[in-house]
Every structure is written in C-alpha cells, then in structure tokens.
C-alpha cells in the first residue's frame, strides 16, 4: 500500500513537472523590458483582430494564422508580442525626441481590448520606444479625474498623463482645472461637431476621439432567446442575467446605459429619472446581477446580458470567436456616446502625452479604433482621402443605425450624469463593486 501511495504521488508529481516543462518549452516570448514595475500594472490580455485586415492598414497582422483568429498579446511593459506596432510618421519629430527624454507615459482606465486600444499601445511604443504604463484598467471616468486630482504634486508613475473619459467628464474636467491645452497638427482636420455636439474644446483642453452607440450584448450559449429591446430586459426568463459594464456612480458606460434606458421608458434627453426607475424595476424583478460585466464573466455565464458600447460588444465577440457566440442587438431608441481624450494639467510627462494625442488622431490610430468597432471623428476626412482599407470599411456600423442614436448636448449630459450618479444608490439601491485588476 505504501508503494501504491508512492506511485500515485509520483505520477502526480510527474504530471506537474511535465506541465511546467512544457510551459518553458512552448514559451517563445521574449522577456519583458526589465524596468521598474509600476504599482498597478495591467497584466497581459489578448486583443483579437479580424482575419481580413488589409496590408496597408496594419502590415504586421496581414497573415492569418491556423488558429481561429489572429491574436496578439500586450502585457503593458514592453512591445506587444505578435503585433510589432507601426511607427506613426505624422508625429512631429521634436515631440518624439522630447518624449524619449521623459521616458514613460502613464495612462489610466484604458483596457487594451477597449476599441482595440492595444494596437495603439503598440504603435506608441514602436514610434517612441518609450514604455507605456497602464493604470487601473477597470476604473471609470470619475476615477480618472479623481486620480488626476489626487496626484497633483506627484511626478511618479501613479500620476496619469492622459485620460480618456466620457463626454460629460470633459466638461467636468475643464471646470475642475484638470486639463492642459494642446492643439495638435490634426486640429484642422477635426469636424466642427460629432453627433451634434462640439468635437473639441474651444481652448484645446479636450477633443473627441471616437464614439459609439449603446447596444445589448448577449451570450447566446446561455441565453437562447436574447433580448431585442429595453422592455425585454424585464422578462422573467432573464432572472439574474442582466448586468452593467461598470458602476453607475463612476463609469461613463454604465451611466449612459441608464440614460439610454430613460429614453425608452418615457424619459427624454432632459429627464434621466425614468432610467433609474427602469433599473429599479429590473432589480426588483430579480433580473439584475450586481457584477460588472467583462468578457470573461459574459463567457462564463455570470453576466450573460449586458449593455455596452457597440465597439466593446464587437471586441468581445471577436475575442471569444464564437465560443461562446455573442449576439449584438441594437435597441431603439438608443444613445450615442463620445469619449474625449485630454492631457492632465499636472502630467509628469507632457510631451509623451502630446505624442499620444498625435497618434490617436493620426491615420493609423484612427484606423485602429475603427478595427476595434468604434466610429471615429476623422472618418469623413479619411474617406475623402481614401486611406481606409476596404476590409476595415466593412467593419463600420451601418450609418442608419448610428443615425437612430440620439446624442445629448453637454448641458443635458451633465444634468443626466449628476442625476444618475447621485440617484443610483437611492433609487435602485444596489452597489456594484469595481474589481481590482
């Protein structure tokens, strides 16, 4: 019996050793650049590109692999593996030099699989050779402004240089003095308005980069009969399945989901209260689950139905590659939402931040966002110059769909945001904790 126990444990040991050895064997990835690890680093994640990407747009990803989709991983500490990043030539050389001297760029609340940001990370690092420091990918827009304000005197890696916040937070940041102005080489190419609202701050404090529309995203392996519209979310068959993509007290995506629900339930752009009432009804029906929906939780079935931006839903759909299948439904009415990027007034690395702003408004940067499923500000301009590859053009959402999305003005957004962030706990009463990684 001693021998049997011995053999049993020996086998277990060999299995483990075998696994570890095979891990060392198959890992052909180079070691990341050994610089000091900033405290809240985002570990690696895979962003999946579609298999048909034209060579002119992203040369390194032209060849499809035998695996179902092309994937590259970005681990936040070095150059992305698999995708080498394109050098963006439209960035002024003096900025690049100044950025190299600064040595780091700190961004916050920007997951690599959000509108294909991972590709832009790689482009930045290829262009400048400077390390990108990604803080707190799960944070919401409110947390980003709080991080700027909390790190006013801090020149270390905890202080964000660049923020990417919801449109309403652009105005909030201006009032709070969180931003510094930058008018880039791309400024003249920006349209005056996007979705009916000003594309850029008149003083250059922020500008819209991309926008999208709120959709319903469903894991159809778990939910055979996906909801098609807002009213469906109240059906008893969706018990414990409906989730938001963030905390409505701080995440712009979640706030806009509530705002969109208001439009569908007797509210208007001036009155977001019905949105809160709607979610109270969803919660009372037992359909709401207070977990933040991420691609993992959607696939595992913890949050099979979520309300998200169309580009995020597309990103999830691509990264899961049909296993499980994701269905995207465009509810009507829905809301269009834009995100603005700004440089922190207290940025420790302002030149790198300016290079970043140049890159995201350059052709490769904007096309990266289109690949990620977002609509971009320079789209019309790029189409005139015929620089968008045909395959990428196919990925843009149907213009009719976008036309049906309603976009609020700054004043309406600000009022709605205030109402929803303060009213969530009192009306709906369900706190949604933000996961740490």
């Amino acid at each position: 019996m001693q021998t049997k126990k011995f053999a049993f444990h020996l086998i277990a040991l060999f299995v483990t050793v075998g696994m570890v050895l095979s891990a060392c064997g198959t890992a052909a990835t180079p070691a990341p650049v050994p610089t000091s690890v900033p405290p809240t680093m985002a570990p690696s994640t895979a962003v999946v590109l579609p298999t048909t990407v034209s060579a002119t747009a992203a040369p390194a990803t032209a060849a499809p692999v035998a695996a179902p989709t092309i994937a590259y991983t970005f681990d936040g500490t070095g150059v992305a593996q698999g995708y080498k990043g394109t050098v963006v030539s439209s960035v002024p050389a003096d900025l690049v030099t100044a950025c190299k001297a600064e040595g780091m760029l700190t961004i916050i609340a920007t997951p690599p699989n959000w509108a294909n940001y991972g590709e832009i990370f790689a482009d930045f690092e290829a262009t400048t050779g400077v390390q990108l420091n990604s803080l707190d990918p799960n944070a919401g827009s409110a947390d980003e402004l709080a991080a700027i304000e909390a790190n006013k005197g801090n020149k270390g890696p905890q202080a964000p240089d660049i923020v990417d916040v919801g449109y309403a937070y652009g105005a909030q940041g201006v009032t709070a003095g969180d931003y510094q102005p930058y008018v880039g080489t791309y400024a003249s190419r920006l349209p005056a308005t996007t979705l009916g609202i000003p594309t850029a701050d008149p003083n250059g404090l922020w500008s819209i980069g991309y926008y999208g529309i709120m959709v319903l995203e469903t894991n159809t392996a778990v939910v055979q009969n996906p909801p098609k519209n807002w009213a469906d979310l109240l059906k008893p068959e969706y018990k414990g399945q409906v989730a938001l993509a963030g905390d409505p007290q701080s995440s712009n995506q979640a706030i806009m989901a509530v705002y969109a629900a208001a439009l569908a339930n007797g509210g208007s752009l001036d009155n977001a209260q019905p949105g809160l009432d709607f979610f109270k009804k969803v919660n009372d029906a037992g359909n709401f689950v207070p977990v933040i929906a991420k691609v993992g939780t959607i696939a595992q079935g913890a949050t099979p139905i979520e309300m998200a931006w169309n580009y995020n839903a597309l990103g999830d759909q691509q990264s899961l590659a049909g296993n499980p299948p994701i269905e995207i439904d465009y509810p009507s009415p829905s809301i269009g939402g834009a995100y603005v990027q700004a440089i922190s007034a207290y940025a420790p690395h302002p030149n790198c931040a300016k290079v970043w702003m140049e890159i995201i408004h350059s052709d490769p940067g904007q096309i990266a966002w289109i690949i990620g499923g977002a609509s971009v500000v320079s789209q019309a301009d790029m189409q005139t110059r015929n620089v968008i590859p045909a395959d990428v053009l196919k990925m843009l959402p149907d213009p009719k769909v976008l036309a049906s999305a309603v976009a609020p003005t700054v004043a309406q957004l600000t009022a709605a945001k205030a109402l929803i962030t303060k009213g969530w706990l009192t009306t709906v009463g369900v706190p949604i904790p933000t996961p740490k990684p």
Binding site: F8, H9, L13, P39, V295, T297, A299, N323
Partner: protein, 259 residues
C-alpha cells in the same frame, strides 16, 4: 459494526468523494472547451503562450523559494535555540507563531500596507515587504514543522557531541542539526511553497505580478484559460501535498491559509 452502519459509511464516503471530485472534473472539462464543439487543449496552449502566465508563475515560484530560504534562516536557529538554551521563551515564540491564525490574512495585509506605505517606513514597493509578508503567512506551518522535527531528534546530545569535537555554532546548525531535520524542513517548505503559490491578498495589494492575481485577472478577461490555470494550480497543490506525504510518512497534514 452492524451492517446497516456500513451502508451509511459507504453513503457518506461516496458523497464526500463526489463533492470533492465534481468541481475538479467540471473544471477540467471546462478547460477542454476552448475550441467550439471539440474537446481540445487549446486553452492550455493559449495559456502557456500568454506571457502574463509565464511571468506570474515564475514570479511566484521564485518568491516561494526565497520565502522558504528566509524561513529556514530565521526559524531553524530560533527553534533550535529555544529548544536547547532558551526554553523560557518557548511560550512567547509559540504564541507569535500562532498569531497568523488569529489575524486573518486580509487584516494582516491591511496592517502591512497601511503601516509601510507612509514615510518614514515607505517600503511598500520593495521586495523586502513581500518576502516578509509571505514568511509571516507561512510561519505557523514552517515553524511547527521545524519544531516537530527538532523534537524527534536529540538536540542536546548532538550539540554536546559536536561542541566536544570543537565545532562552532554555525557548523552545528548547518552541518549537524539541519541535515537531521531535513524531512521536517522539506515538509514545511512544501507547505510554504503551496501557500505562496496560492497567495492572493498580499500580492494583489502590493501590486506584484504573482500567479494568483493573474488568475483573478484571467477569470474576468478570458473564458476558458482560467480553467486551464485552475487545473494547473490544483495539480501543483496536489504535487506539493503528495511530496509532503511522501516525506512526512504519516505526520498529520496541515492546513494552509491564503483563502
């Protein structure tokens, strides 16, 4: 025992076995589902190609080994000294080694981070705090294993014999005592290793790229890779426990924290 009793015994036993194995079987099957419609090891392949996994896994292995070394360096001389020369300190030392049972890991990490993230003790980013934290968390098990080992050998005679031959303290400790409690140390070492590999709280809140925070990240961002990582984690735990059993030869298996 009456036969009716035997039926009940089998009933509870089978229930226990089912409860134990079902989640593991399910996780394994789940990990094979990465490719749609087919059972394959794709999730494992993707996991091993994930640089974050390699980094997290090797980071935890490295710090696990370092923790074991630090533990041996601190606890073996202490246990030896207490047993040999300073029995009056035994109660105090044992009380301290049992403190991590009373102070849950989250509270301990809370204290560590709050104490050491303000000047003048700003060492929250340094590896010293990480090792110290891991050592404290594994202290009850490491110390108890070493103490049990020392109890089973005649420390006094060995020491006296060595001293009569002219050995100094370092020689006695590392060339005479240590080899004799090899088994006990290995048992404690593997337990510490299992603890460090599975430890989440300290690594997460000190923002270190260890294995457990990576696993937590996987669960949110990926569908099937976390299952593969879970199976690997479990296999590792089993291997550690198996080796302990092998060396311990029936010593009561101890329970680890970090949950």
């Amino acid at each position: 025992m009456k036969n009716g009793g035997k039926v009940w015994s089998w009933f509870w036993m089978i229930l226990g076995i089912v409860y134990f194995f079902l989640p593991l079987v399910a996780t394994f099957i789940f990990s094979l589902r990465a490719k749609k419609g087919v059972l394959s090891f794709l999730a494992y392949q993707q996991l091993f190609n994930d640089s974050g996994f390699i980094k997290g896994f090797s980071y935890s292995i490295l710090w696990g080994v370092l923790t074991i070394i630090v533990g041996i360096l601190i606890f073996v001389p202490t246990a030896y000294w207490v047993r040999l020369r300073a029995p009056q300190f035994r109660t105090a030392v044992e009380f301290i080694t049992l403190l991590p049972f009373v102070i849950p890991a989250i509270v301990f990490v809370f204290g560590l981070v709050r104490t050491f993230s303000h000047p003048p003790f700003l060492i929250v980013d340094s590896p010293v705090l990480l090792i110290a934290g891991y050592t404290v968390l594994s202290m009850p098990y490491m110390y108890r294993s070493i103490d049990t080992g020392l109890r089973s050998i005649d420390v006094r005679t060995l020491t006296e014999a060595a001293q009569s031959l002219g050995a100094g303290w370092a020689t006695i400790l590392f060339q005479i005592i240590l080899p004799n409690i090899r088994v006990a140390i290995l048992s404690g070492a593997f337990l510490s290793f299992a603890i460090v590999m599975g430890e989440y709280i300290l690594a997460q809140y000190l923002a270190k790229p260890a294995f457990a925070p990576f696993l937590a990240y996987l669960i949110q961002e990926k569908a099937y890779e976390p299952a593969a990582a879970t199976i690997i984690s479990f296999a590792l735990t089993w291997a550690c426990m198996g080796i302990i059993n092998l060396f311990g030869r029936g010593q009561q298996t101890q329970i680890a924290g970090g949950h």
